[in-house]
């Protein structure tokens, strides 16, 4: 059983089914990829998993516990963390404070005596953001802002990390460093779900990949299986599937 699981999640906007009966899992210590063309329902699925969107049907299980009815904050406290495709940084805070505030929230919630400042420094170093720590977050380029979102999520000591297009806007060097960091995090036991359009990156990092198209899972498997799947090729290149 996976650490994070969706069972038959369906989301409708009016008459439009954005996510259609999706059951996928994210395992500890591995990076699971979620790919699909624009409008395939990846972000909607993320929103449903994290509680920003209510599903019409289906369940979300975290470590075997049904969290479908829980608000986002409670899911976060159970170990779920995410980044946003459209950056959601705290624009009035510096890079350091964007990360530190996650520790502040954790501390206020649990009453724990975590040394927030020390932990922030550790995360800054780990994510390679030390050089821009004291800049205003609105002054840094998109690629690095994405890393700030990841750092902020890491600050909550999550068990599952959901990344929504974290590499878009990054330079090639930034992407390489980022890939190394993700691999390292997974090796430490973190469950990572990666939505990304940079297919070479996904193929390189992920153990399992799920492909969404029109809200439904059209293929699941290892990178090799996915690359050879006729449905996936059809969805991406757009030819008719002849069964």
């Amino acid at each position: 059983m996976s650490l994070l699981e969706t069972q038959g999640i369906t989301v409708r906007f009016g008459g439009n089914t954005a996510v259609d009966n999706v059951s996928v899992g994210v395992d500890e210590g591995r990076i699971t990829g979620l790919i699909g063309p624009n409008g395939a329902g990846k972000t909607t699925l993320f929103n449903t998993v994290t509680g920003l969107q209510r599903p019409a049907e289906g369940r979300v299980l975290l470590d075997g516990v049904d969290v479908t009815r829980l608000p986002p904050a409670k899911r976060a406290r159970r170990g779920m963390a995410r980044t946003f495709q459209r950056l959601e940084l705290f624009l009035s805070l510096s890079v350091r404070d964007n990360i530190r505030v996650a520790g502040d929230i954790l501390r206020a919630n649990t009453g724990s005596r975590v040394d927030v400042d020390k932990e922030t420094d550790r995360v800054l170093e780990r994510t390679g953001l030390g050089d821009i720590a004291d800049l205003d977050v609105s002054d840094i380029p998109t690629g690095r802002a994405r890393v700030v979102e990841v750092a902020r999520a890491l600050m909550t000591s999550p068990r599952v990390l959901l990344l929504d297009e974290p590499a878009s806007g990054q330079t090639e060097q930034e992407t390489e460093a980022f890939a190394r960091m993700l691999t390292g995090l997974a090796e430490e036991g973190l469950a990572i779900c990666l939505v990304e359009h940079d297919l070479p990156l996904v193929m390189k990092l992920c153990a399992t990949i799920h492909v969404l198209d029109y809200g439904a899972v059209i293929a699941s498997g290892t990178p090799k299986e996915i690359q050879e799947s006729p449905e996936v090729i059809a969805a991406y290149i757009g030819t008719e599937v002849t069964a």
Binding site: P37, F84, R86, E88, I105, S168, G169, L199
Partner: protein
């Protein structure tokens, strides 16, 4: 049965007028994203103009109607949009709300200037109140039939507009995605202008129709707030649906008339209750409204505040106390007590700094929470009698505590929802308090205890005594209030620099991201609202004791709105903004008006001119608030930014300080009078940065300041030629690299476009 039918029809009529007002509100909100708090004031202004034409100048009714509805209404809406509302894109909700509040206040001040409030003006029903029809014992006046027919016509018209016409569909798109609309060849601004014109005309129409129903007497404040009742109706439709808004309006109108018909008229509070009913209903609707989706940082807003360190804040706090002490030496006794009163307002304004400036939430009725504290302290905090009566510290603490709890209870239903709803809930509370509690002069007996909340319509609040510190003395009062302000101010800055403060900032910037880090938003909002209410309570207790005897007018909703507006105009993110906002709204304008009146009395020849200038300066307060749209971070921010460049021009700073000291010395010695001191000081403060820049330019002419690259990326190659460096920069921005990394699905998914960046909802 006849009674029932009569009241049902009366209720329908009232509902119909509410519906007209509310639909205008929904219309503008949905096309421009601005919730127009000035809607009621527009209705009021329209009704006054109609009175002026039809009664003041005796024009025929039809002509007056054509002019007011056909010309004035649309023109008012068009002008509002073109001059003010258009500039509000990319500003925070707080800025939008405050600007419309400023328009509201400006219109009320303007109407009171043109139409003296103490003169009686009556607007009669169309065709007179005797023109009526009778159906089996039920009498309906022609005016009432007109209301019903007009409302029905508007309902059908709006329905057709939104579902059948192209303009209507475009209108619905305008608020969701103006950029997309622009790409499709429409002009979102033109659509918004049109909706403002329609909304404004509907407001004016509602104002003209409702005045005779409410008795016919035109009264600016009452009429402005009366149409605020329509807010409750709009809430039924969640500010979106026009049909549901109409249904809500009808329910509202009928409930109000049934209360009047069937509640025993012997109950003194029946009529108060009826007046407050829309507000009570608004609260109920808030409670039952379903939870909304969490929103992200909707837009990259223009508001920016710098947060000082605690050490720096403490230095400024000491400086403030010193400056106030020095100023006090120049003042006569009455001025000292006026100044002290202003300082208590500044403390109340601090409650807005923490709530709005730090947490991004709004309280539109800060003084109403202050009224709660004052009532508590009056009943439980006074020791001694007569001249020996004093407030005791424990009583004040109790008052502050109770206010915090009341604040929490009022805010709680709205906290699940967007900031706008909290703003509306506080406004509802303010109006409710003015109508129900502050008018409650009768005695109640509860559990054998007899009391009255507001005996004789005014409360005598004696000065505070803390141990040996007796605030009866004006000087002591002023210095104590100043020290308190400085302490709370520094405390707030310390709070902002703490983990709690960062959590507030995070919640303000992106509720969704903040929730995803585990923050319980309701809890955090509740705590900050309670802190804010407590500060407002403390300030108001001091304010009441500075005034001595307070009546319901001192806690007027309009006065609270003016305080909020001036604080935002000065800089809601800054403690110094609270100082200036509080001083200005508490005493600044009273002083200015009094000064011009004195001048008028001294020079009878020029009296009209002086009085006009006095009135104009009151109206111009509203312009300060409207100016928030142009510089949303506030005046203090702009001043601080202009002084920032002076840090390197030490001689200029020192020179300025010496000059100011000299001015002070001259004034203290009695060689110069206080007015000259004030005027020259103001000139010095304003001229110093300008002078500094001149000196700087001579010393270091533009050296070491390379012009930063300013061409936006999408215009590179258009506005300036491609260079290798620019190409690299573009590649970096777009996340591309030098060599090809193979096909990515980017083919289907373009890079973040400007349109996407402009309009971000978390939920895609």
């Amino acid at each position: 049965m006849t009674t029932f039918l009569t009241f049902t029809i009366l209720g329908l009529v009232l509902g119909a007028v509410y519906a007209i007002a509310a639909s205008g509100l929904v219309l503008t909100y949905n096309t421009s994203g601005i919730f127009n708090f000035a809607h009621g004031a527009q209705a009021m202004l329209g009704a006054f103009l109609y009175w002026q034409l039809a009664y003041g100048w005796g024009w025929p009714v039809w002509l007056a109607l054509v002019v007011v509805l056909g010309v004035v209404g649309p023109a008012m809406g068009g002008l509002l949009h073109a001059l003010i509302m258009k500039g509000l894109r990319d500003t925070a909700d707080v800025t939008k709300i405050v600007v419309t509040v400023a328009v509201l206040l400006g219109m009320v001040y303007l109407s009171q200037w043109i139409w003296h409030p103490e003169e009686a003006r009556i607007v009669e029903m169309f065709f007179g109140s005797n023109a009526k029809v009778e159906f089996s014992g039920v009498v309906i006046r022609v005016h009432e039939i007109i209301c019903l027919v007009v409302a029905a016509a508007i309902a059908i018209g709006l329905r057709l507009l939104f579902t059948r016409s192209r303009v209507g569909v475009v209108m619905r798109g305008a608020v969701d995605d103006p950029d997309l609309l622009r790409l499709n060849g429409h002009n979102p601004e033109r659509v918004a202008a049109l909706s403002w014109m329609m909304g404004s005309t509907l407001a004016v129409l509602a104002g003209i129709l409702i005045t005779p129903i409410g008795g016919g007497a035109l009264q600016a404040n009452a009429l402005t707030l009366l149409v605020i009742d329509a807010f409750a109706a709009a809430m039924f439709g969640r500010l979106r649906s026009i049909p549901r808004t109409f249904a809500g309006a009808i329910v509202l109108g009928m409930t109000a008339t049934y209360v009047m018909a069937y509640f025993p008229s012997a109950w003194t509070w029946t009529s108060n209750f009826r007046i407050s009913l829309p507000m009570i209903i608004l609260f109920v609707v808030l409670i039952v409204l379903p939870q909304e989706r969490l929103r992200g940082a909707a837009i990259r807003t223009r508001e920016r505040y710098r947060v000082p360190t605690v050490r720096r804040a403490a230095v400024w706090g000491v400086a403030l106390v010193a400056v106030v002490y020095l100023l006090k030496l120049l003042m006569v006794e009455t001025s000292v007590s006026t100044f002290a009163l202003g300082m208590t307002f500044a403390i109340i304004a601090l409650s807005l700094t923490v709530l709005t400036g730090y947490a991004g939430e709004l309280n539109l009725a800060p003084l109403s929470f202050g009224a709660v504290a004052t009532i508590v302290v009056f009943h439980f905090g006074v020791v001694g009698t007569g001249l020996a009566a004093r407030l005791d510290v424990w009583g004040v603490l109790l008052a502050v505590l109770v206010t915090a709890v009341v604040g929490g209870l009022v805010a709680l239903p709205a906290l699940r929802l967007r900031g706008l709803y909290l703003a509306l809930a506080t406004l509802a509370f303010g109006v409710f308090l003015s109508n129900m509690v502050l008018r409650d002069t009768t005695e109640h007996t509860v559990f054998g205890v007899t009391f009255s909340l507001f005996p004789n319509g005014s409360l005598i609040i004696p000065p505070l005594r803390i141990g040996p510190l007796d605030l009866r003395d004006g000087d002591t009062f002023l210095m104590t209030a100043t020290v308190l302000f400085a302490l709370i101010g520094v405390g707030l800055i310390a709070l902002r620099n703490s983990g709690y403060g960062r959590r507030l900032a995070a919640m303000k910037d992106s509720p969704a991201a903040s929730a995803m880090l585990g923050q319980n938003l309701v809890k955090l909002k509740l705590s900050v609202f309670m802190i804010s209410a407590a500060i407002a309570g403390l300030g108001s207790v001091l304010m009441s004791s500075a005034i001595g005897s307070v009546a319901s007018e001192n806690f007027n909703v309009m006065a609270g709105l003016a305080l909020l507006m001036l604080t935002v105009a000065a800089g809601i993110g800054y403690v110094s903004g609270a100082l200036f906002g509080g001083l200005m709204s508490g005493v600044g304008f009273v002083i200015i008006v009094a000064t011009f009146n004195d001048l008028a009395a001294a020079n009878p020849d020029l009296a009209p001119v002086y009085q006009a200038i006095g009135s104009l300066s009151v109206v111009s307060t509203a312009l300060l608030g409207i100016g928030v749209g142009k510089s949303p971070s506030g005046t203090v921010h702009d001043v601080v930014e202009s002084y920032r460049s002076l840090r390197d021009a030490r001689p200029v700073l020192v020179g300025g300080a010496v000059l100011e000291a000299a001015l002070y010395g001259l004034t203290l010695a009695g060689i110069m009078d206080n007015w000259w001191f004030a005027i020259l000081t103001a000139c010095l403060v304003m001229m110093l940065p300008v002078f500094g820049r001149m000196v700087m330019a001579r010393v270091a002419p533009d050296e070491g300041r390379p012009a930063p690259h300013r061409t936006p990326p999408e215009l590179v190659g258009v506005d300036e030629p491609y260079t290798e460096e620019l190409r690299r920069e573009l590649d970096r921005e777009l996340g591309l690299s030098g060599h090809d990394r193979g096909p990515t699905p980017g083919g289907r998914r373009p890079v973040r476009s400007g349109a996407e960046e402009g309009n971000v909802h978390v939920v895609a």
